[in-house]
């Protein structure tokens, strides 16, 4: 069964900028999708439509064959609780600490933990951020903020991981760490949709490569299965 499907989806930003043109796409459960394309190709817009930060101008998006337009706010919230989203602009609460940002995400996921604090610190340790756990987000560098954004999404152990340029500001060691986690995720049968133009990730041949050019889907090449 398709997890997500796009049917004739168009997105036009007023007055007439066509960000996405007639997108038809199917994503199955367990897929590892790598969306690539140059800057402004429409990767982020496609992901925003996927996690409903924005709505399409025309066309339909389906989740498990249910149209997004049929889903109520409460139902969509429940879906987002099961998803992990890494945002290109991080979307962290600047006035809360690293630890608090991650804790809120975990609480909202609805998962129960015996010792949440230890669990969070283990993740922070893995990304060499444990010593900055009590620092406010606004006191961190761009790379560190991105790591927090990545941890916040991964720590939920989500059913679907949607990642928009998760390695944009990271050092090679952190990129390796993230790739390792992504592989572990995929091996557990989870779905990953990742937008990137980072050649390190693309060359890893982790999954299906989908290329976007000026808002249009130009090919759907299977790199690795």
């Amino acid at each position: 069964m398709n997890l997500f499907s796009f049917q004739n989806v168009n997105k036009i930003y007023p007055p007439y900028f066509k960000a996405l043109i007639n997108i038809n796409l199917e994503i199955k459960e367990g897929d590892f999708i790598i969306l690539t394309g140059s800057t402004g190709a429409g990767k982020t817009t496609l992901l925003k439509l996927l996690y409903r930060e924005e709505k399409p101008t025309s066309g339909e998006i389906f989740y498990k064959n249910i149209s997004y337009s049929e889903l109520k706010t409460r139902q969509f919230n429940q879906l987002r609780q099961k998803w992990g989203i890494i945002f290109q602009d991080y979307k962290l609460f600047p006035d809360l600490s690293v630890y608090e940002n991650i804790k809120i995400s975990l609480i909202l996921s609805g998962k129960k933990f015996k010792n949440m604090k230890i669990f969070i610190y283990e993740y922070l340790e893995r990304f060499l951020l444990a010593h900055k756990a009590q620092k406010k987000i606004k006191e961190l560098s761009g790379g560190e903020q991105q790591k927090v954004g990545v941890i916040r999404a991964l720590i939920r152990d989500p059913e679907v991981l949607i990642a928009d340029e998760p390695t944009g500001n990271l050092d090679p060691d952190s990129i390796k760490e993230i790739l390792q986690i992504l592989k572990e995720f995929h091996n557990k049968g989870k779905t990953i949709i990742l937008a990137t133009h980072d050649p390190i990730i693309i060359n890893q041949k982790l999954g299906k490569l989908i290329r976007l050019k000026q808002g249009e889907l130009i090919n759907n090449v299977e790199l690795f299965e």
């Binding site: 099961k82 804790k103 809120i104 916040r152």
Partner: protein, 292 residues
Amino acid sequence: MWSYLSRLELKNSLIYYLFLLIFFFFWNFFSLFTIYLYTNFQKIADIYKNRVYLNLIIYSQKSDNTTVTNLVNNLKQLLHVKKVEVFPPEKIFQKIKNSLPSEIFKNYKKNEIINYFPYVVKIYPTSFKSYSLLKNQLQLLKSSNNKIDIYEAKISKMVNFAFVLKPGFFCFFIIWIVFYILFLLFFNYFLNSFLDKQIQIFILLGGSLNNFKIIRLFFISAFSSIAFITSTILFLYIANNLSNIFNITKLTQSSSYFLFSNNLFNIFIYYILTILVFPAIIIWFSYKKYEN
């Protein structure tokens, strides 16, 4: 999570909540004060409403006694007249002779002075509502007789004004409440746009808007309650002093504190509406744009 959400809500917007506190302090104070003025005015009007009367002053010579008697008889036949009392010039003279300058008595005889005094006819209407109608009838009488003048007692004017004030007060109070609702709308929309980014993040992480709505209602109610309590205490203090100064307490047989404690249920309804119900509806309304 609630503590984090509270911090997110308050951290950057504390100054606006303090503004709400000041606004509600004065709004509530003015509301209570308006109600206080209105109720006391009505209470006093109630006390005097059976005592309103109109004075007809008839400038007539003593020899015209029969004319006055005829006029009084005619007045008694009028539709809205309950009682007529006639005060002849002699009686008026007796009442005020002590306040007249002594030189008058040296130059004129008592009878000569009395001749200058008018007849005063006190006319009581059948009910307070017929006061104005009676006044109109007397105005007609006055226009046909230049020896007659009408004098409205101050208390009658006040009672009449209290009667006219009633619908005006309700119109004013509705406008006053609409003003408060508009302020709440502005406040919530402003806060939403100010905190838009964090609301969006919270929703994208799977958070429910209800959490933000509850937090907003909690803070609005908390700040408004502080303003309510402090401004009510200040109001009671001022109202009680004013009542003592103007002797209203003695007149209405009830102090401001007594009036307040006697209307606890009404005040409870007022509190629930202004601090919980109106804000809750407006908060619910203002978050509509975040729903899918």
